[in-house]
């Protein structure tokens, strides 16, 4: 595999880094690795290592999390499309028996589809289209705050701000509460899931929604205009959702939908800030943005999704046991040369881009329609106001956080006024 430059860092030909392969050990013929995903790293380094891992060993065993590591696009698709074998009993590699239950992520088909139908009330294509105007307003508000200064940290000023307001609007909550959620989600995702600070922030999120649910039980609102009231009036298997289900739904929405959109926008702006040719194309032809978004999603997948085996299976020659977990390395799989031509190049108008950055199968990201709309509006509005900008630091100083993929900050600069 040839060496890469740019945001992907440098990759040695066919070699995984020393840290990764525990020399001399294997499990059922697969190398044993120790994947480091907790530390902050310069952007692109980790992705480059995962690419190299794919070339060395399509299937490996992570000694740290004690799970199988899958890196090929066709293997990842196969897992997503087989929910009976690869269940959602846990989706967190390393935590096969989680103490929490996310709804709908920890629910398997066929029950799972009933929850999805309830949630499509807010997340389907039609409600998402209805909220586009408000999304544009919230995005403009955020950009207005910075356009005259000539610089900002995109992550904290824009990317992390307007999606949070949009989410609150979507579930009929006050957009002014956005700073609370920005703060809580930052804490939850900073580092790893089980830290004391993270658990405290999770508790605060839970408290917020416990109070909300209690209020709507006391005084139900019109379910057409109040998402919480809609949830409290919805049924699964003929029974109304209990408070616990509604709480688990909200926890999931907050955890799944805020950090991710912020990150996707941030990586997009990083790419466009450092690749003038692509930025100029988008400025000259904003109609290109939807196709460009698909390529940016493919180029910078955020999530390392897990699945838990329900039965023993021979997976392409590797014996996997019931109860074990697999980790789907989307960053590596979406750069699989078997599926994508010139996979490590960002081809901003790439056609027939059938990536799985939003996952696949029945658990395909519920928020994908919303996320795509937010990304489109975010890129349209930014480039309309600030068509010419650059990275206000060295690329080597752009830091990717450990845990779920995200940029710590993205300093951008431009001529004041745009």
């Amino acid at each position: 595999m040839r060496a890469q430059s740019g945001v992907w860092g440098r990759v040695e030909e066919g070699n995984v880094t020393q840290e990764q392969v525990i020399a001399g050990t294997s499990r059922s013929g697969c190398p044993v690795v120790r994947l480091d995903t907790h530390r902050d790293r310069p952007v692109g380094e980790r992705a480059a290592e995962l690419n190299a891992l794919r070339e060395t060993a399509p299937i490996s065993w992570d000694a740290q999390r004690e799970c199988w590591v899958l890196t090929l696009a066709r293997h990842v698709r196969e897992v997503f499309q087989d929910p009976e074998t690869f269940t959602n009993d846990s989706i967190t590699p390393g935590d096969p028996n989680p103490a929490y239950k996310w709804i709908p992520s920890n629910v398997n088909p066929p029950l799972h589809v009933q929850y999805r139908q309830i949630l499509n009330h807010a997340f389907g294509p039609a409600p998402v289209a209805r909220i586009e105007e408000r999304t544009r307003e919230y995005c403009r508000m955020a950009i207005d705050e910075v356009v005259e200064t000539g610089h900002c940290d995109y992550v904290s000023a824009v990317g992390g701000v307007f999606p949070t307001r949009v989410f609150l609007e979507l579930v009929d909550l006050p957009w002014e509460d956005a700073p609370l959620f920005v703060d809580w989600t930052e804490t939850i995702f900073d580092g790893f899931f089980g830290s004391p600070e993270a658990l405290q922030a999770v508790a605060k999120v839970t408290d917020y929604f416990v109070e909300l649910i209690a209020d709507r039980r006391r005084a139900p609102r019109d379910p057409e205009h109040d998402f919480t009231s809609h949830l409290l009036r919805s049924e699964v298997d003929g029974r109304l959702l209990p408070d616990e289900d509604v709480l688990n739904i909200y926890n999931q929405l907050v955890l799944a939908g805020l950090d991710t959109v912020k990150s996707a926008l941030s990586y997009s702006l990083l790419h466009l800030a450092t690749t003038p040719a692509d930025r100029h194309r988008i400025v000259e032809d904003p109609a290109l943005i939807p196709v460009a978004i698909e390529e940016l999603l493919r180029a910078y997948p955020l999530v390392m999704e897990g699945r838990k085996l329900s039965r023993d299976v021979d997976f392409h020659g590797v014996p996997m046991r019931a109860g074990e977990m697999v980790m789907l390395v989307l960053p590596a799989a979406m750069h699989d040369p078997e599926q994508f031509e010139r996979p490590d190049d960002v081809i901003i108008d790439r056609q027939r881009n059938n990536h799985l950055a939003f996952g696949g199968g029945p658990h395909r990201c519920l928020g994908s329609h919303l996320a795509r709309m937010e990304m489109r509006v975010g890129l349209e509005e930014w480039h309309r106001r600030i068509p010419d900008y650059h990275l206000d630091c060295d690329l080597a100083d752009v830091i990717e956080r450990g845990g779920q993929r995200s940029l710590r900050s993205l300093p951008l600069a431009w001529t004041p006024g745009g």
């Binding site: 499509n120 389907g124 294509p125 056609q351 799985l356 696949g360 199968g361 395909r364 994908s368 795509r372």
Partner: protein, 65 residues
């Protein structure tokens, strides 16, 4: 030309109807409304149809000549 759309595989990514809006549309849940059926492709729309099939991350759409 026809497009055969596998209902079991369609996961509602929405790439097909986003890329070929004249040919395909969403249902309320975000699945392609024509899933589980075979869609007749009007003359002149063959390229759009092939593109729509190729964009599907689940390989749920078969092009039948």
């Amino acid at each position: 030309m026809k497009l055969a759309i596998d209902a079991g595989r369609c996961a509602g990514h929405g790439r097909c109807y986003a890329m070929a809006p004249g040919l395909l549309e969403p249902d309320e849940l975000g699945f392609v409304a024509a899933r589980g059926t075979t869609v007749e492709v009007p003359a002149g729309s063959e390229q759009a149809a092939r593109d729509a099939a190729a964009w599907c991350p689940e390989a749920a759409i078969d092009v039948e000549s």
